[in-house]
Symmetry: C2
Subunit: 489 residues, 2 copies
């Protein structure tokens, strides 16, 4: 079995246990970790959490969740600094209590910043792979993320070889960057399907057959369906006016709203679209099967064991429909611009001028991170931000006078859509935008309060370019903190 | 004379007076206007301001100033909506009093948004040229800006042929975009040095010999020299550590601080650099002559008559040192990333977490516009934001707890530099950034107040990722409005 997985002689001589490999890492080091929603090197990272393992590490990684090994790494003090995107409860608590350092980064620029040396020397990287080639090249698991930059820039590499993944999946990646070549189809190849790795870099090979834990996916609901209906109306108007081709490319996330939009596209008769995404999940696979999408590129294939079996059983079909690429392709400004795609991202709150907060509760507490939201909103052809009009049983308006944290500015927002409708902000002045957002997107319970703020701000500033009253700009959020609701007494 | 300027027969038959051409434009139309700091079609625009001319126009243009024709266009109601960048006093007053609509845009995306149709149909464009070729192609004046998109997308074109410009300057432009070709040297050619223009588009040719008014350039002062010294210290550290090559490419603006930095580079013995700029002025020309810079690309050559004579008299030399390109090359995200350049932009205020406000006084009143600041800060290798530590005789701290408007977010800021020093924010958490910015950049008079805010915010939020106290976040700006100073009673 291993003969077919580890074709390189020298690599075979480096096989050791997860515990032995974990001991190579010293406290205080900076390490990279493969994976993006999937593809994490579980065995070695868990071994590091055992007594005597390294502590106080700076970890560079992507889209880590609340599944192990990350809670343990946080709780044992193995990881005291994390760079990337996370939705790990334990980590989130500690980074919002000054106990862990966190660096949030545009995912499309993450690999570039590692290469530039912005984060200093990278001592080790731990990479989950499905195969080591005869030339020593690595075939990573089903997530690309920043693994290319990690392998390039790390002084030493620990490979965690996962035999639970079919080695026949080799060929599904494209790690090429080739900036001179345009990506016309999602399936165009820019380079190799493996990562070169000089033998002297390889410090250890650990064999595992772990099957990853999975997060439950959220169901849809009426509000999500309402948002999806607004988005579909907007997209239909664009394709009917000819501004958007009928077979446009959509950047699509995961979760309830994204699923509802996909459902709406199918019901609306959209066909032959292309998909540009960070995480391709079970439901996205269904839409690829049904022909709503003809092809896809993603940085991670985050599938249930059943869906993965479906892919493995129909490998040639899926290899001709989807390619896994690193974040510096899937989230690259130039590629996004070239593809003329529609970007769709969720926000925590949007303000009446079109600025959006994707990351912070009341401007202070980090939820997950920027992710690719501004990579896409900045460079795509049509940037759509979606949000329910309210949260917490209607006590929070997701449309506010001023966002408490800015992730995408007014210039990067074309459309805001809620279950009440959408506001098309293109070519609009701030004051025109405010009226559209209040009347088309805000919940009716909050429209009066928003109109009052805007009207008063226009008056107080005598019609300034962007009317605001600084001491009232956060009145909604302050009311929430005081009364538990943004509604007026 | 005109035989050598207008080689196309059909174009010669369209010669008419500025008044006749102005009458082709109807009230309420959307028009494009050539020029960027220079190269504006003065005669036709002034003729439009005469009684009986069109009113209520939407105008797309770039870097317009307080020189005519823009004050007259604003005052007579010819222009009631403007898209682009401006530093025109009359326009600024009206757009901040609800009398004129203004759309501020990332300049690197302006041409793309015109092509996408974000601003609707473009009825006419008025383009200052130095020559019309035999094939009808236009050789514009010494500014490229968005002129390529205007000529492509306008239904009709009015050419204002300016005979005061030497026709021998032909060849100094490169209008090519060729996204597949990498710009290795500033001088590499991506396409043609003229703009194709189908004869049926050309509606009028107006002959002028106007010499443009010029804005006075600002002198340097001690504060500017202090800021420049901080920037030079930072750049030297980067080149000495090898993170930046010794012959790096610098994005450099105009005005006092930029000049002081150029002066500092010369005195510091920097040589053979490349220049990426929007406006190349007299002083930049001097630094090109002296070898500090070996070559330059710019979107406009904004020179005094004397400097322009120098260029004309040494045309071959200058043509081998500089190229004029459109904004969708000079400010393009991919090009900026490719060139690995150092971006340097001034701000109105920066906050303790590294967000910057480049455009709005107290978050409400627009000064000029984004310009290319976030095109560069977002995509360049090293993004430096510069500002004096204080303004208005020390009554305004340019470092504040929270900026009142966000143009570049914390993620797009590598360095903040004032006359007191610089803060290197790369790889730093928000709380680490705050300490660096307060201690290295803020004026000593304000450090205590900033430390107090930050300390209190850390306590109140129990060390949240980005500590803020929303009702005190704008206390500095509110104190200024109340007491005329941000200083504490």
């Amino acid at each position: 079995m291993l003969r077919h997985r580890i074709l390189n002689e020298a690599a075979r001589s480096k096989i050791m246990s997860a515990q032995q490999a974990a001991r190579l890492i010293e406290s205080g080091m900076t390490i990279g970790v493969s994976g993006f929603a999937t593809g994490f090197p579980y065995a070695v990272l868990m071994a590091m959490c055992e007594p005597g393992g390294p502590r106080g590490l700076t970890v560079l990684g992507g889209a880590i969740g609340s599944e192990e090994p990350f809670p343990s790494m946080t709780n044992t003090g193995v990881m005291t600094r994390f760079y990337g995107w996370q939705r790990c409860r334990e980590l989130r608590y500690k980074l919002n209590h000054g106990e862990v350092g966190f660096i949030d980064v545009h995912l499309g620029q993450f690999a570039g910043k590692i290469r530039k040396g912005d984060y200093g020397k990278l001592d080790f990287s731990v990479i989950q792979c499905m195969k080591i080639r005869e030339d020593g090249g690595l075939v990573p698991a089903l997530a690309a993320g920043i693994v290319n930059a990690l392998v390039e820039c790390s002084e030493k590499i620990i490979v965690e070889l996962n035999t639970s993944l079919s080695a026949e999946l080799e060929g599904i990646h494209d790690f090429g960057l080739n900036p001179e070549k345009r990506l016309v189809s999602m399936l165009d190849r820019l380079g190799d399907d493996f990562l070169p790795c000089p033998p002297e870099k390889l410090a250890a090979v650990v064999i595992t057959d772990d099957v990853e834990e999975r997060l439950p996916t959220r169901d849809t609901n009426e509000i999500y369906e309402g948002i999806a209906a607004s988005v579909i109306r907007c997209l239909r108007r664009e394709t009917e006016s000819g501004r958007l081709p009928k077979d446009f490319t959509l950047q699509v996330g995961t979760g309830g709203v994204a699923n509802a939009v996909l459902q709406g596209l199918r019901e609306g008769g959209f066909k032959g679209l292309s998909m540009f995404t960070e995480i391709l999940s079970d439901s996205a696979l269904d839409f690829l099967d049904s022909g709503v999408f003809k092809e896809a590129t993603t940085t991670a294939l985050d599938l249930s064991p059943e869906a993965l079996d479906r892919v493995t059983a129909n490998l040639q079909t899926y290899k001709s429909k989807l390619v896994i690429r690193p974040l510096d392709v899937t989230n690259n400004a130039k590629r996004i611009d070239d593809m003329g795609l529609v970007g769709m991202n969720t926000v925590v709150e949007a303000d009446i001028y079109g600025n959006v907060n994707s990351t912070h509760v009341t401007g202070t507490n980090m939820i997950s991170g920027l992710g690719g939201s501004n990579d896409f909103s900045r460079s795509c052809k049509l940037s759509i931000f979606i949000t329910p009009s309210t949260a917490k049983n209607g006590n929070i308006s997701c449309i506010v006078p001023m966002v408490t944290h800015h992730d995408s500015t007014e210039h990067d927002t074309d459309i805001i859509a809620t279950e009440y409708g959408f506001a098309d902000l293109r070519g609009k002045t701030p004051k025109e935008r405010a009226l559209l957002i209040i009347e088309n997107c805000a919940h009716p319970d909050y429209r009066g309060l928003l109109r009052d703020y805007f009207g008063e701000a226009c008056k107080a500033t005598r019609g300034a370019h962007t009317p605001h009253i600084l001491h009232k700009a956060f009145a909604f959020q302050e009311r929430l903190a005081r009364l538990g609701t943004m509604k007026d007494g």
